[in-house]
């Protein structure tokens, strides 16, 4: 029976759903539970990773280092993971201190076409003996061949695996299979998948990825994360077991954490409302949803229209400033000056 590694990004992608306001108590309580449930890798921090706490994306309640230190205290067997996007996180100011504070797995992340911006960061992480996983975001925007070419660069820099993110929750299962297969056939390193549920496909896509050869799946408890949330860990674990895969996890222990901890700190239930569904259709970064809602309210335009326009312009993660700009333009077109 094939073993699938389940990565836990509840305290990272969940930061988006929490509007980046995870408290110290949330972190320590969840990290302790993750350790006892036998989670292998727990990723912690701002939704866009190290150095991303900002007016642009949203300021974290606590600093990256505080989150890392609080989580490490609770972890023994569970490895601490962090995410770093070059352009936001630098080696010297962010990655190096995070590793010194106990991070063992670094997800070095970029837009799916820009792998060469991750070279120095991946090389640094592997040079200090830690695990670097290359992450390609917004993979619905690139062909399987294109993704393979980018993933091969990351492999060349020393990544131990490549994680494909469907950051916009815009991909359907057959596309997932094609993309994962292309990587599986063309890489020597492991391949993983990270889904969003904006089109209701997160579990189906994660299963499709595994069937196409992915050996690790990035998930969050109860699906707590950006947009309509991620692939729920407790559900994919149950589904994988039912499909004959091993995960080393007990789905009932996970259900206990989901109901007992996550359901209690969630700002609101994760659901596919109109704005989240539109973000999947538009193919824009899931983290844009609450910012589009705010800009929509401020300038008197429908956030769904903002997201669709951002999708037409092919705006990518990290370009949150375009949300306000598009809202202003749409408001002008409607003859509505909003509050500005």
């Amino acid at each position: 029976m094939k073993e699938i590694l389940i990565i836990d990004s509840t305290l990272r992608d969940g930061s988006h759903a929490m509007r980046h306001r995870f408290t110290a108590d949330n972190i320590s309580q969840y990290a302790a539970a993750a350790e006892s449930a036998g989670i292998k890798v727990l990723v912690v921090g701002h939704g866009n990773g190290l150095g991303a706490s900002s007016l642009l994306i949203g300021k974290s309640l606590l600093s990256d280092m505080e989150y890392i230190k609080i989580a490490t205290k609770e972890l023994k067997k569970t490895k601490l993971g962090i995410l770093a996007i070059p352009g936001f996180a630098t080696v010297k100011e962010d990655i190096e201190p995070a590793i010194n504070a106990g991070a063992e797995v670094v997800f070095v992340t970029c837009h799916c076409t820009e792998a060469d911006t991750t070279q120095k960061h991946i090389e640094y992480v592997s040079s200090v003996g830690k695990e670097a996983i290359g992450v390609l975001m917004m993979t619905h925007m690139l062909t399987p061949e294109g993704l393979l070419e980018q993933a091969q660069k990351m492999q060349g820099y020393g990544a131990s695996g490549v994680l494909l993110m469907d950051s916009a929750g815009a991909t359907l299962p057959h596309d997932v299979m094609e993309k994962v297969s292309a990587l599986k056939n063309g890489l020597k390193i492991k391949v993983g998948y990270h889904a969003h549920n904006n089109l209701g496909m997160a579990v189906a896509n994660s299963l499709a990825a595994v069937e196409a050869g992915a050996t690790f799946i990035d998930t969050t408890m109860r699906g707590y994360g950006a947009g309509a949330g991620n692939c729920p860990m407790e559900i994919i674990t149950a589904v994988l077991h039912k499909s004959g895969y091993k995960t080393g996890m007990d789905e009932f222990a996970l259900m206990g954490i989901s109901d007992g901890i996550v359901a209690k700190f969630m700002k609101k239930p994760i659901e596919i409302d109109g704005v989240r569904l539109a973000s999947g259709l538009a193919g824009v970064f899931s983290g844009f949803c609450p910012i589009a809602e705010r800009a929509g309210a401020q300038f008197g335009v429908d956030p769904k229209e903002i997201l669709m326009e951002l999708g037409r312009r092919k705006i990518v993660a990290g370009q949150e400033d375009y949300i306000t700009e598009v809202a202003i333009e749409l408001a002008k077109k409607k003859g509505n000056s909003g509050k500005a």
Binding site: A52, T90, T117, K120, M141, K314, D321, Y322, A340
Partner: protein, 292 residues
């Protein structure tokens, strides 16, 4: 005045086009390291003297130029600068090298000419520091400024990509040093959309209480008019607007379309700044020479 350009990628090639147009400058050497560089081939077709020995071509024949534009990478600049300084050359550094004297022509051109190794900071720095500086004049109590820039993937060559950390560091330092703000944060995103996006910069500036947005607006539009004198494509896209304790201003830079098409304003803002410094340097030398 004779200038050499080392680095034959996007920035070097755009510089060459601008130097060729200058009344004060003449490109006497266009040097890189790779013999199959497309930049070298193009320069040769234009009748420019080229070399694949990079900085060594200048060290061998120091009389070939008075000014050296360095459009390589931060790491290479660290090797290029010391021997060129010894030769008493002016070096206009277009890499985020963390070395040399930081120059924003609008703010410290005169002073910069007293230095030999002059650093142009970064495209984000050149396009946003004058605005942050103008803002801080009306809100000196501001403690935090943030810059989020987007550039098109096509305009970011290998040197830019490998130096992304250095870009963040040097732009942050530039904003802090010139505007006087306590802390700056800098972020950069690459966007591969077709047709390519124009260079796009958003400044978020935290304020203590509600500021006088009218004065801020006036100061910012004034400084942009001044910037247009050497980079005509700089313009305000939106703002400044005030909301929830912060002022936001979004600007964009449309290039002249010299080497890369007009979307690559990030090249122009750097190369225009470098050419302004070089021309000023040439004028100064000429006047010094003319004075009995």
């Amino acid at each position: 005045m004779r200038v050499a350009i080392i680095g034959t990628g996007n920035i070097g090639s755009d510089l060459l086009a601008k130097v060729m147009r200058s009344k004060y400058l003449e490109c006497s050497l266009f040097a890189g390291r790779s013999s199959d560089s497309k930049g070298i081939a193009r320069a040769r077709e234009m009748g420019i003297s080229t070399s694949t020995d990079s900085v060594d071509a200048i060290l061998r024949d120091p009389s070939c130029c008075d000014i050296v534009f360095d459009s390589t990478t931060a790491e290479s600049h660290a090797r290029h600068a010391p021997p060129l300084i010894k030769l008493n050359k002016y070096i206009l550094d277009l890499t985020p090298s963390k070395m040399g004297f930081m120059c924003i022509p609008l703010l410290n051109l005169e002073e910069a000419l007293n230095h030999r190794d002059i650093n142009l900071i970064s495209c984000g720095g050149q396009s946003s520091i004058p605005i942050a500086h103008a803002f801080m004049k009306s809100c000196p109590e501001t403690e935090y400024i943030e810059l989020a820039s987007s550039i098109s993937s096509k305009s970011a060559g290998p040197g830019t990509r490998i130096n992304i950390d250095e870009y963040v560091w040097s732009t942050k330092k530039g904003i802090e040093q010139f505007s006087g703000v306590k802390r700056a944060k800098v972020m950069l995103s690459l966007n591969p959309a077709e047709p390519p996006i124009n260079m796009h910069n958003t400044l978020y500036m935290e304020t203590k209480g509600e500021p006088d947005i009218g004065t801020i607006r006036k100061n910012i539009f004034e400084v942009i008019e001044k910037m247009k004198k050497y980079t005509p494509g700089v313009h305000v896209v939106a703002g400044p607007i005030y909301e929830e304790g912060r002022v936001t201003v979004i600007t964009s830079v449309v290039g002249a379309g010299d080497f890369l098409p007009k979307y690559a304003g990030n090249l122009d803002i750097m190369t225009c700044a470098a050419v302004v410094v070089a021309e000023e340097c040439a004028k100064k030398k000429f006047l010094e020479g003319a004075t009995p």
